[in-house]
């Protein structure tokens, strides 16, 4: 009888794990925060395509588990994907076709950009890279907001 109880419990555990909701990171990089606030302490760094387990939802924020870290990530940094329809188009209610879903993450990608660059060496991609590298740290943004009497998001 004990064996039945153990097997059932294991089965229940596995079933729960399989049914757990996961979301995928869609930004190049992002952070899991201690609280559901943009500038709360960072618990973990995540990158594009990382899978996060959703524990609960607090407004625009998901409480997620990533490895040993538990914290919050904003809903616009992730999306729910399914095996059959990866990418943006698996979003519930988006009503896109299967062929559109197949495009997600594929059409215009680094491979296409590389070919485009070699075809157009005059294009100043290095300046675009410089623009993207110009990062204003979170701490400067929070000080800027506070000093200007603005609203902390």
């Amino acid at each position: 009888m004990k064996r039945i109880v153990i097997i059932t419990m294991v089965f229940l555990f596995v079933a729960t794990a399989v049914l757990a909701e996961t979301v995928t990171v869609i930004t190049k990089e992002n952070t899991i925060r201690e609280y559901n606030k943009f500038f709360s302490p960072v618990k973990a760094y995540v990158k594009y395509n990382d899978k996060l387990e959703v524990l609960s939802i607090n407004g625009d924020w998901y409480k997620v588990k990533f490895g040993p870290s538990i914290g919050y990530i904003h809903k616009t940094a992730v999306e729910k994907r399914t095996a059959s329809s990866p990418g943006l188009f698996s979003r519930k209610g988006s009503g896109v076709s299967e062929s559109e879903a197949a495009l997600a993450g594929k059409g215009f990608n680094p491979q296409v950009e590389a070919s485009y660059k070699s075809k157009h060496p005059e294009m100043k991609f290095y300046l675009v890279d410089n623009i993207e590298r110009f990062i204003v740290p979170d701490r400067e943004v929070t000080v800027f907001i506070a000093n200007g009497g603005l609203v902390q998001p």
Binding site: I4, V5, T8, F11, L12, A15, T16, L19, A20, E21, I26, T27, N30, F38, Y48, I57, Y62, H74, K75, T76, G87, L88, R91, K92, G93, S94, G95, V96, S99, A102, L103, A104, G105, K106, G107, F108, N109, Q111, E113, S115, Y116, K119, M123, K124, F125, L127, V128, I131, E132, F134, V136, V141, F144, I145, N147, G148, G149, L150, V151, P153
Partner: protein, 290 residues
């Protein structure tokens, strides 16, 4: 007792499988994730078959093309200031995160203009910055551009025929690496898409309804961020005066300024801004911009 426990466990398991784990609260999470995503879809009205990642690559190429026509500013202090304002506003928007993030850059030209490249890179010209009289007005210009990105207006400029061709090339295969011939076709489509967006941003402009929506969205963003929503109105009125002399630029690609002023009339949310805060913002604006 043991039999009762086993029966309870089986009942729990059955309930779980039948209800999609509602007993664990996961069903609700699933429903909410769906709702949240639908909201995002609604804000990104362009139902074009393009992911955030693809939008980012298109936007990078559009930015590179714009930098072929305009000179990028090396003024780090001004660039930092514009980024601080822009990031503050973007964090209050419907889409605070994009694939590559928001980046704000200054173009060294007297032309009065600003461009929102798909994916999150926003250009503002030195001429446009000079036209603003305080930080709140500068924030109004950047908020308008952030709304264009939120609504994916740039991507919507791509001709629909290109998507049909892209779907034909890509098909429904799972492979991510293409043959040289397929890459050639995709690069051609990529090139065409960039031209479509560039023409819209720099030559023809967005539709009147897109510009009105961007103005209305900017009012909301300003209020949420703690800026004075009335700054958009005061900026547009100054633009109407200064723009007459300069011509071109934003006046060429946007609806009539008087029409824009009329459109936002009475739509600004009421906001309270302390005199001390306005003074602090004015002081830093003057020290950096003038």
């Amino acid at each position: 007792m043991m039999k009762r426990s086993v029966a309870f466990l089986f009942a729990l398991l059955l309930l779980c499988s039948l209800s999609g784990c509602e007993t664990m609260g996961l069903g609700n999470i699933s429903q909410h994730i769906g709702t949240a995503m639908t909201v995002v879809d609604a804000t990104s009205k362009a139902s074009r078959p393009i992911s955030d990642e693809e939008e980012y690559y298109v936007g990078r190429a559009v930015a590179a093309k714009i930098l072929g026509s305009y000179q990028l500013s090396n003024d780090r202090e001004l660039t930092r200031y514009v980024n601080l304002i822009g990031r503050t506003v973007a964090l209050h928007s419907d889409k605070p995160f994009t694939h590559g993030g928001y980046h704000f850059a200054v173009l060294e030209t007297n032309e009065i203009n600003a461009f929102a490249c798909p994916g999150g890179t926003i250009f503002i010209t030195r001429g446009m910055i000079r036209t603003t009289s305080n930080e709140d007005e500068l924030a109004a210009v950047l908020a308008h551009e952030v709304v264009h990105i939120n609504k994916r207006d740039g991507v919507a400029a791509i001709k629909s025929a290109r998507w049909t061709q892209a779907l034909t090339v890509i098909g429904t295969t799972a492979a991510k690496n293409y043959s040289p011939a397929e890459v050639g076709q995709l690069v051609s489509l990529f090139e065409g898409s960039i031209d479509d967006i560039f023409k819209t941003l720099v030559v023809n402009g967005y539709s009147r309804s897109q510009e009105y929506a961007a103005d209305e969205g900017a009012l909301q963003l300003l209020a949420k961020s703690g800026y004075n929503p009335g700054a958009l109105d005061s900026f547009l009125k100054r633009l109407a005066q200064q723009g007459k002399a300069s011509g071109g630029g934003i006046l060429k690609t946007h609806p009539g300024t008087s029409d824009r002023i009329e459109n936002i009339s009475g739509k600004a949310p009421s906001g309270k801004t302390s005199t001390k805060a306005i003074e602090a913002r004015t002081a830093r604006f003057v020290s950096i911009v003038h």
